[in-house]
């Protein structure tokens, strides 16, 4: 054996070497530059190209931004100011149009005296979203709610909200903050009724409407409790029937009667007054809220082993995904009346929301299907073995995990949908991008102004979409870490 070890030189280190600083070219800014900017000829060229692009962008746009005018009442006045201040050939941006018309870009034709209502609605939306979106971390919740509270209340005061409503907003915000500190899930009931509240705040009218809309499911639930002793399936059918019958037959009259007995209404605002980002957000938020459950149902149907259900869902999804959204919007605006009983006609915004929802839901279904498919079979089996029935297993075991996996996809579907709300311009609604800008430009003062509205509207879209995508990335990382 010893021959094989002939070469071994026993070696023992008695003093450990200290760690030394790297050679100069291995550290500091020099190294950073060498590695990140000038490592190799290709990268050097790219870096120079990058510098060139940056320089070009700055050179092209700097003047224009630097010479911007914020205070003028028409484009011509802007031009005069620019010429007067920076000389004859100066070019400059005229952001005065934003200053003058910001209200239209944000609120459309919503009555000025009621601007506080949409503001409050979207402020309270944050409270309603807290248990859904911000449940991951208390700090985030605190920050979001604090900012929301300050901004909302400030804006409401500035916009002249009545004291009663200010008090109401303070109450909800404070309550939200308190509950979020204690146990965020207690806010869920508020999230559940928020959609109705939101509709009421935005459109106004009688509070009895939303109340009686709520009563429907309540009665349905009672029916379910009563019948579920006999059969779950029957109970479900009964619950749905009771709800629908109540809505169709009683709700309308009841609202009128109740309103006569005790008037609980605020000034109502018609749909055609919605425009700008108010319209985009309304459609976007409603679409998001509705498309997720619909998408889940479609995804479950597509994963089902019942042939008919599966085929129906596949046909639906593939059909919706196969046609452009704009054609669906055209269906909403041109064809829906063909498909409904003669004489029915309902709000165009509602129709658009339905179409946008269906469209997003088809995409959502595919995203969620990916999440469902990624779940190991063992999870289903364990749920079965524990005696959970299909719906309980889906609700408690499968969906929470599948949705978590699909967060990035879901959020990018949301972003896509929010961006697509601009397409409503093609059915005659006043989206912030095209119709509203056209309307602004239809006035003699602002004729010919393009870039500033584009920048303003684009900037807001960017903030919202970029924010959403970053938050989803954060959420994803966070959920991953939590459960590992």
């Amino acid at each position: 054996m010893s021959d094989t070890h002939a070469q071994t030189v026993p070696f023992v280190r008695d003093t450990m070497l200290p760690s030394a600083a790297p050679p100069i070219r291995e550290s500091g800014a020099v190294k950073w530059m060498r590695e990140n900017l000038f490592s190799g000829p290709v990268n050097t060229i790219l870096t120079l190209l990058g510098l060139l692009i940056v320089w070009f962008l700055i050179a092209t746009f700097w003047d224009w931004f630097a010479h911007s005018v914020w205070n003028a009442s028409s484009l011509n006045e802007c031009r005069e100011i620019i010429t007067a201040t920076w000389g004859d050939n100066a070019r400059g941006a005229c952001f005065a149009v934003i200053r003058e018309r910001w209200n239209q870009y944000l609120f459309g034709f919503y009555p000025q005296s009621l601007y506080w209502r949409p503001t409050m609605t979207f402020g309270l939306l944050m409270v309603a979203l807290a248990p859904v979106l911000f449940s991951a971390s208390l700090t985030i919740r605190r920050v979001v709610l604090a900012i929301t509270a300050v901004v909302t209340l400030w804006a409401m005061v500035v916009l002249g909200a009545p004291v009663v409503w200010l008090a109401f907003a303070v109450l909800v915000l404070a309550g939200g903050g308190y509950l979020s500190e204690r146990n965020i899930t207690w806010l869920l009931p508020f999230s559940a009724i928020y959609p109705l509240l939101g509709v009421w705040f935005l459109w106004g009218g009688s509070l009895w409407g939303p109340i009686f809309v709520l009563v429907g499911p309540l009665l349905g639930w009672i029916a379910w409790r009563l019948v579920s002793r006999v059969s779950t399936l029957l109970a479900t059918v009964a619950a749905i029937l009771v709800t629908l019958v109540f809505w169709m037959v009683f709700a309308g009259d009841a609202t009128g009667d109740a309103e006569r007995l005790l008037s609980l209404s605020i000034e109502s605002v018609r749909s055609d007054r919605f425009g700008g980002f108010l319209l985009s957000l309304t459609i976007g938020v409603a679409g998001i809220a509705l498309s997720l459950p619909l998408g889940i149902v479609l995804a479950l149907a597509r994963q089902s082993d019942m042939f008919l259900i599966k085929s129906l869902s596949v046909i639906f999804i593939e059909f919706i995904r196969g046609v452009p959204l704009i054609t669906l919007l055209f269906v909403a605006s041109l064809l829906l009346n063909y498909f409904l009983p003669p004489g029915t006609s309902f709000d165009i915004i509602l129709r658009v929301i339905i179409m946008v929802t269906i469209f997003a839901a088809a995409y959502m279904a595919e995203v969620i299907r990916g999440g469902l498919a990624a779940l190991p079979k063992g999870q289903y089996e364990a749920a079965d073995a524990l005696g959970l029935d299909y719906w309980k297993a889906q609700r408690l075991i499968v969906l929470p995990q599948a949705l978590k996996i699909s967060i990035p996809g879901i959020v990018s579907t949301f972003i896509g949908m929010f961006k697509d709300t601009t397409l409503v311009t093609f059915v005659g609604l006043y989206d912030p991008l095209k119709s509203m800008s056209d309307a602004v430009r239809a006035n003699i003062e602002w004729k010919g102004i393009y870039w500033e509205p584009f920048i303003f509207v684009g900037g807001i879209f960017f903030l919202i979409c970029f924010g959403m995508s970053r938050y989803s990335m954060y959420l994803e990382r966070r959920l991953q870490r939590d459960h590992r």
Partner: protein, 319 residues
């Protein structure tokens, strides 16, 4: 169906009126979303006649493409969106034009610098044109008839047409002469644009309703007639109260409902025409307030003068 529209409107307590998405002078929302314009005034008059309140109108902005569908699908009760009365629209599209509120014709606007003085010189030009309008068809016909070539630049809305034209993306902009005038009026330098003398088509513009509900058609028609007749008889929004009391002209009396219950024949009350006129004044007042020579749009009455003034406006007798 017969009478259904009136019942619906009454029940809704609001008139749905299809208008242009934005054509200065004819229909455009201002910064607060209040609609004004020549077509808008008709809608208000109709609402006043039917519902007693000129404010009870919901204006549905329609594009060139969606307007007729909006009407035939019942989304709007009446369409007052400078639409041309043509044979195929009246028959095939199943619309009923209730009259003409503006006699128009298609023209061209070009930049003065171009040095063009006649449409005949437009051979090879690029022409901006709204899609889905009769102008698109007229243009094709005109250039073929004169054996000229052109490149159409299809646009979606008047605002966009202006933008394209202003930027020089087309040599000429074609649409109804009234629209051209309105557009030109809104330019910063109207002087540097000229409207060519050729009018290449007849464009009788008027409100339209659906086929099938003649009663509603009557109401729409006679509201328009009431406005026109009022001008003919000198009934204005200012003197109307006085005339109600004092007018001895039987036709005026019938119009204003002081004698004969004409309104009842259509299912309205006696004072319907009075309210219609009070809403924005008679035809002449509406014209003057929205598109007349005192306005930036500055249209002359021309063909749209009363027949008594050498124009084509001729209200059927109220009898």
């Amino acid at each position: 169906q017969e009478g259904a529209t009136l019942a619906q409107v009454m029940e809704r307590d609001e008139l749905n009126c299809g208008v242009n998405t934005g054509l200065v002078g004819f229909a455009a929302p201002d910064a607060n979303g209040n609609w004004t314009g020549f077509d808008v005034a008709y809608c208000r008059a109709l609402a006043a006649a039917v519902l007693g309140d000129p404010e009870k109108v919901s204006f549905v902005p329609t594009t060139g493409q969606t307007r007729f569908t909006a009407l035939s699908s019942g989304e709007v009760d009446v369409l007052a969106r400078n639409s041309t009365w043509t044979y195929s629209r009246d028959t095939d599209l199943a619309l009923d034009f209730v009259g003409v509120n503006y006699y128009d014709g298609q023209g061209f606007m070009v930049n003065r610098e171009l040095g063009v003085t006649s449409a005949k010189e437009l051979d090879g030009a690029t022409i901006c044109i709204q899609t889905g309008t009769t102008t698109e068809l007229n243009l094709a016909d005109y250039f073929r008839a004169n054996q000229m070539d052109y490149t159409p630049v299809n646009i979606d809305s008047n605002a966009e047409g202006e933008q394209q034209y202003m930027a020089g993306a087309c040599d000429a902009y074609t649409t109804d002469a009234s629209g051209l005038a309105a557009t030109r009026a809104a330019f910063a330098d109207p002087e540097s644009h000229i409207i060519l003398p050729e009018i290449i088509s007849k464009e009788p513009l008027g409100p339209a309703v659906r086929h099938g509900d003649n009663n509603w058609g009557d109401i729409a028609r006679w509201t328009l007639n009431a406005l026109i007749a009022a001008e003919e008889y000198g009934v204005t929004s200012r003197n109307i109260e006085e005339l109600v009391r004092s007018s001895t002209n039987p036709e005026v009396q019938r119009l204003l409902g002081t004698t004969d219950e004409l309104g009842a024949m259509m299912g309205l009350d006696a004072e319907w025409a009075r309210r219609a006129i009070l809403a924005n004044g008679n035809y002449g007042e509406i014209f003057a307030a929205n598109i007349g020579e005192q306005t930036p749009i500055g249209l002359a009455r021309g063909l749209n003068a009363q027949w008594t003034q050498g124009g084509l406006l001729y209200a059927q007798p109220f009898r």
